[in-house]
């Protein structure tokens, strides 16, 4: 699975005009999700216009970091640079408790791949990738 030579590093997010506040917050250890102030609706991934009411009145709100496993996969035949050492690893589609079907992608960490279940309660944790970037990740939340 591994490529030749030095171990590849994982892809590093490149914040842009729309997504920068998400990554700035994550870098401070805060999960902040874009929210439409006009129609009271969380949006992720961030967009330039609210996908529901089409206004640009979008702000980032700190959320609880509490979530559930919406669904997930266990990758055993990885193709992403930097992940060879991690196999098998769990990619979770994580549903935040703030809104139905408000989902983001994260690895489900600190739990064996076979123990991850749909509906499992999770809480956010952060994985430092570079000096400027920390990835929101999710781990089991003991308080069922």
């Amino acid at each position: 699975m591994s490529s030749e030579g030095a171990p590849a590093i994982k892809p590093v997010p490149v914040p842009d005009e729309v997504t920068a506040p998400f990554w700035e917050a994550a870098n401070r250890g805060v999960l902040a999700i874009q929210h439409c102030e006009a129609c009271d609706y969380y949006v992720h991934p961030p967009e330039a216009l609210c996908p529901r009411c089409q206004t640009p009145d979008l702000e980032f709100r700190e959320v609880s970091g509490k979530a559930r496993v919406y669904t997930h996969t266990v990758v055993r035949d990885n193709v992403t640079a930097g992940f060879a050492e991690d196999e098998p690893y769990v990619i979770g589609i994580i549903e935040l408790i703030e809104q139905e079907r408000l989902v983001l992608v994260a690895n489900v960490v600190n739990v064996g791949p076979e123990d991850v279940r749909i509906g499992m309660p999770l809480r956010v944790t952060f994985e430092r990738l570079t000096e400027d970037i920390a990835l929101p990740q999710f781990e089991p939340d003991g308080e069922d």
Partner: protein
């Protein structure tokens, strides 16, 4: 009815050989398919004055896009055919082939061109499939690549996991479809997996790629090309083969939010598309004799069977397991083996087989008396499309 109502037809179908990691350039596969489709219609290359294709590379990530090797664009095809001075109309539509087919159908129906050739040429990219080796994840990549979520099989496997959880289906249920599909494939000499049967045990024991997807939940990447020729309904009547009239179509603008993170979105988008598809033809699921539903990944069969209303939400797995979609069932499904059995042709396998069935040319797998067939392409959300073909111009 506000649809296209049979004003254009597919009048020829042509395949290149389907191989893997062939030393031949993709351009030669494209020319082979173009010549076969044109000959099938009883035409010559010099009759072709319209060209349409989907010029995208075959894989997600950062593979190459060398003309003639990884892609075959309209300018290259016009050269391959020696028609640089004669093409009156062309289109290149990034996305999926129903978009291109409908553009070409409108072109021949309007007279913008007389005979339009539409093709999709795909290769097996070098290296491992869908390698993602970019060090920086910008744009749509930034919320998934840093998590190792770069493989299309992984994007879709989460949908099967959720389906199994929500509806109580099992891998054994999916095995029933995969095995049935491989049986159909044995009746299709063009197919990559022709000559290679598969058992339930083979499926259940196969290597997991992105659990719950194993190897056989994923289509088989090939080097190859499928081409079709379109003509107006008037001209179609006088050609070599019976016309497959386009009597219904739908395309969707439904966004793929977050890059397949919320799998329910596939059903939402597919259901919206299905309503448009049936309305365009004045037909419904009960009118369809054979269905060719997109199967780049196995879960799409469940999406489309339910989104088009062949069964209710959550019933697709049981429906397939009951035998209803076998060649002798009430809704023969993917009779050629399509992407999972014939090869990864991005929906052209569906369109080609829907045409062959409705024109009575599907050989050993022909469903007798097929009057209306349907083909869908895509995952239900963005860029998905559907076509209904009928033996008569008026559905």
């Amino acid at each position: 009815m506000d649809g296209f109502s049979g004003r254009a037809a597919i009048v020829g179908v042509g395949y290149s050989k389907l191989e893997r990691r062939s030393p031949r350039p993709l351009a030669h596969f494209a020319r082979e398919a173009a010549e076969a489709a044109t000959a099938d219609a009883g035409l010559t290359i010099d009759d072709i004055d319209g060209l349409g294709t989907i010029p995208n590379i075959a894989a997600y990530g950062n593979t190459g896009d060398l003309e003639g090797i990884d892609i075959v664009t309209v300018p290259k095809m016009s050269q391959l055919l020696g028609r640089e001075h004669d093409i009156r109309w062309h289109v290149q539509t990034p996305g999926l082939c129903p978009d291109t087919i409908m553009a070409a159908a409108a072109a021949v129906a309007s007279g913008a061109c007389t005979y339009a050739l539409v093709w999709r040429a795909v290769n097996v990219p070098k290296g491992r499939y869908s390698d993602f080796s970019l060090a920086r994840a910008a744009g749509e990549h930034q919320f998934r690549a840093p998590y190792g979520f770069t493989m299309p099989a992984a994007w879709q496997s989460v949908a099967l996991r959720k389906y199994m959880h929500d509806h109580g289906s099992t891998r054994e249920d999916m095995a029933a479809f995969i095995v049935q599909n491989r049986e159909n494939t044995q009746l299709n000499p063009k197919a990559y997996w022709h000559g290679t049967p598969l058992t339930v045990e083979d499926y259940l024991d196969a290597p997991m790629v992105a659990d719950p997807f194993c190897l056989y939940d994923c289509d088989i990447p090939v080097d190859g090309c499928v081409a079709v020729v379109l003509a107006s309904a008037e001209r179609a009547r006088d050609l070599a083969q019976p016309p497959a009239y386009i009597t219904g179509h739908a395309q969707t603008t439904w966004p793929t939010r977050g890059g397949f993170t919320d799998s329910e979105n596939m059903w939402d988008g597919g259901t919206a598309m299905g309503k448009k598809l049936w309305a365009s033809a004045g037909l419904g699921p009960d009118d369809i004799d054979v269905a060719m539903l997109y199967d780049g990944f196995s879960i799409f069969l469940y999406v489309w069977l339910e989104a088009l209303g062949f069964v209710k939400r959550g019933e697709a797995a049981n429906y397939i397991a009951s035998g209803a979609t076998a060649l002798d069932g009430e809704l023969p499904l993917n009779t050629s083996g399509c992407s999972l059995g014939e090869g990864r042709l991005h929906g052209m396998a569906q369109i080609a087989e829907a045409v062959l069935q409705v024109t009575g040319r599907a050989g050993a797998r022909q469903i007798e008396g097929a009057a209306h067939t349907v083909a869908t392409v895509g995952a239900g959300s963005l860029a998905s499309g559907g076509l209904i073909f009928s033996r008569e111009a008026r559905a």
